[in-house]
Symmetry: none
Subunit: 416 residues, 2 copies
């Protein structure tokens, strides 16, 4: 049988639609990247008979079975024991798992409960697939020749770490991977996907690397891909095309791969030895929250004021009550006074402000939901601009786009 | 055979992880709501042999097969013809589908291409399942007695409309819906899933309603479920068990269903006519961001100070520089002064503060990553508590758990 993988996701919560099965997508992407063929995904509930039938089917068509879910401490977590039962292997208790669980609980000032004990049971001859952050370990098991079983908890963060830290190295070591797909993703702000696609049109018909546009969360992206045996070769194929794209798109391209608007802004501030403070109304702290997701952001981010109520705009940010009265909180001049105020109160190089109508209520004919003003105070004075964000995608969307637009405004100033 | 449904999602793009399979979640929720049992979901690529094997398997275990995907105009869209081939039914061309497609293309100033012709083919005896917005219709087909097949395009927006407008009325009319599943989800803070499971252990073996624990984002939950013919009966079955759980768990249970810690705190503040201000260090605005996700939070949330730098703690929050020097920013007394400071600066009923080490850097032996102090200033004075959050799940996790713990601290005070 040619090598191929099959994905089995266990959990009644998946069948009930309570949980979105992002694990199946993650595995699809990873198996594609590693070049491991994969033709079926199955979702089955917490039922031993049906789990066994799924195992029986999967062994007939694949030789790498990847399970997610059903490793928890409760009686409806059945993956490990059902696999052991199916392959008629006894379950063996691993004291090192019990110790690991006890240590993790101790860090949170809790005691493990007796129900955690079953998480220390693995079929004879199975190896522990360590879980660096959660209580449930997985396993790597060859229940019979030419068949490998991997199990993972359903919690995506735990699963992803275990996949990257242990499963991928295992698959590389055991001949599952010959060539990989290497991707470079370029990220854009301020240009819609269709305009971007037109701008780089000739590159979209390349075959190696391929270039494909896509969009997500309001950002257009271009993915440059090649399938090859080493990262060095991939880089040689991808780098010249990346450079062409950057020349075509200029400042619209803000970064690549893991870059975010906040990380790019942070790097620029750090390079210049400058500092930033924020004054947030409709985003309620979301801009500060994004800036401080980055460890080390204290090098350039001082803090700010969440001026949700007008009294806070006046009291802490020194916005003129007359101006508030005359122009309303959602106005260019208030945005400018907020930015100036926070810059002067916090003694930062830059002050950036956001005031707008996030909705769904609070809009008027002249100031509709989605109207946002962004202010920026810096060494050369204060300016503002108006954003009109589609209200159709909801309050979170308006807030997210406001914070992103504010970051991009500052980024372009820092590069000017 | 008892009535049950099975979901088959067709598309190589799903196996490659290019598309998140939200259709499977939608169907899971809908089938659960309608009380149509559903034990398997399968994802299979655009391959006729594998699609046929999936059909063969599914007919053995279910009598309502629901397909999504593979109805488009391109050669790799194979669902309809493969179903016809499997059940040996001839394909019949439906002129009304061709007319409908031509009309929709005309609205967009395009002509249909010859490849659209295949979308007008349905197996003999199949009924059209109209697509109000896209070119691909689905079908409702009984290829043999006691077996119903529904097909839908993979585009979620088209699929959802077709499901609601045609499939659900069909299922109601044809006796598929007799009883529905009613769920009540109780939400907990301050108790791990395993401890919760032990506390309510006797209830976990109930059969009507069933009680199942699960956890997500640090929160334990209990799902109470019953399958019955009316919401009233469901309530009668669920309410006494809910009450038992609430008695066993006390204040650990913070809400049910769509409640969040921030919505529960918001409701309590609104009821009391009280206001809140926040002083955030390591969360950088994340607590304010969560509180203001709720439309109408301006009724009780005034704003706050993001005091990331010590200069801001001193300047805007009036934290004593001596105290900062002596105890460090991450200390109970600084948390208390931050809470007191923000309450007095913003004239709010409550001031809540967070100061901690989110990591991954910045920890010391005496003040490790994950150490967080939360302060709460209120009408009866100021208090603080220390949280030790596992640093293993990363910076975002420490920040999320800090904000949640702060909200829970305030919630318990508001209920005291």
């Amino acid at each position: 049988m040619n090598r191929s993988a099959e994905v089995i996701c266990v959990g009644t919560e998946l069948l009930l639609g309570e949980v979105l099965n992002s694990n199946a997508q993650f595995l699809g992407q990873e198996l594609a990247r590693l070049g491991i063929p994969h033709f079926h995904q199955t979702v089955v509930g917490d039922n031993p008979t049906r789990i066994k039938r799924a195992i029986a089917m999967a062994c007939q068509r694949a030789n790498l079975l990847i399970f997610t879910g059903g490793l928890g401490p409760t009686p409806d977590d059945l993956t490990t024991e059902t696999l052991a039962d199916f392959f008629q292997a006894p379950l063996i208790e691993h004291p090192e798992i019990l110790e690991d669980i006890a240590r993790k609980f101790a860090q949170r000032n809790h005691d493990p409960s007796p129900s955690n004990d079953k998480q220390a049971l693995l079929p004879e001859s199975a190896a522990i697939l360590p879980n660096p952050i959660g209580s449930a370990p997985g396993m790597i098991w060859q229940p019979r020749p030419e068949l490998t079983v991997l199990t993972f908890p359903g919690v995506p963060k735990e699963f992803h770490l275990m996949w990257q830290e242990t499963a991928v190295p295992y698959l590389l070591d055991h001949g599952w991977v010959t060539a990989q797909i290497y991707n470079r993703v370029l990220r854009f702000w301020g240009i819609p996907e269709s305009t971007l696609a037109d701008k780089v049109a000739p590159l979209l018909s390349l075959t190696n690397p391929t270039v494909a546009p896509y969009a997500s969360r309001g950002q257009a992206r271009l993915r440059i891909s090649t399938r090859t045996s080493s990262a060095d070769i991939a880089h040689q194929v991808i780098a010249p095309v990346e450079q062409q794209i950057r020349q075509l798109c200029g400042l619209h391209c803000y970064g690549a791969d893991e870059d975010t608007l906040e990380s790019v802004v942070g790097d620029l501030l750090k390079q210049k030895g400058q500092t930033l403070a924020v004054a947030e109304s409709c985003t309620g702290g979301g801009l500060g929250q994004r800036l401080t997701r980055i460890s080390g952001s204290s090098d350039y981010f001082l803090g700010g004021v969440i001026s949700y109520a007008n009294s806070v705009k006046q009291g802490l940010l020194k916005v003129d009550p007359e101006v508030l009265n005359q122009h309303g909180a959602v106005s260019a001049i208030v945005a400018e006074q907020m930015a100036t105020g926070v810059r002067s109160q916090l003694h930062s190089t830059w002050g950036i402000s956001i005031t707008g109508i996030a909705g769904p209520k609070g809009g008027t004919p002249t100031k509709p939901v989605g109207l946002v003003y962004i202010g920026l105070a810096g060494p050369d004075g204060t300016q503002s601009f108006e954003c009109i964000i589609s209200p159709l995608r909801g309050r979170d969307w308006v807030r997210h786009m406001s914070a992103s637009s504010a970051l991009d405004f500052l980024r372009r100033q820092l590069l000017a």
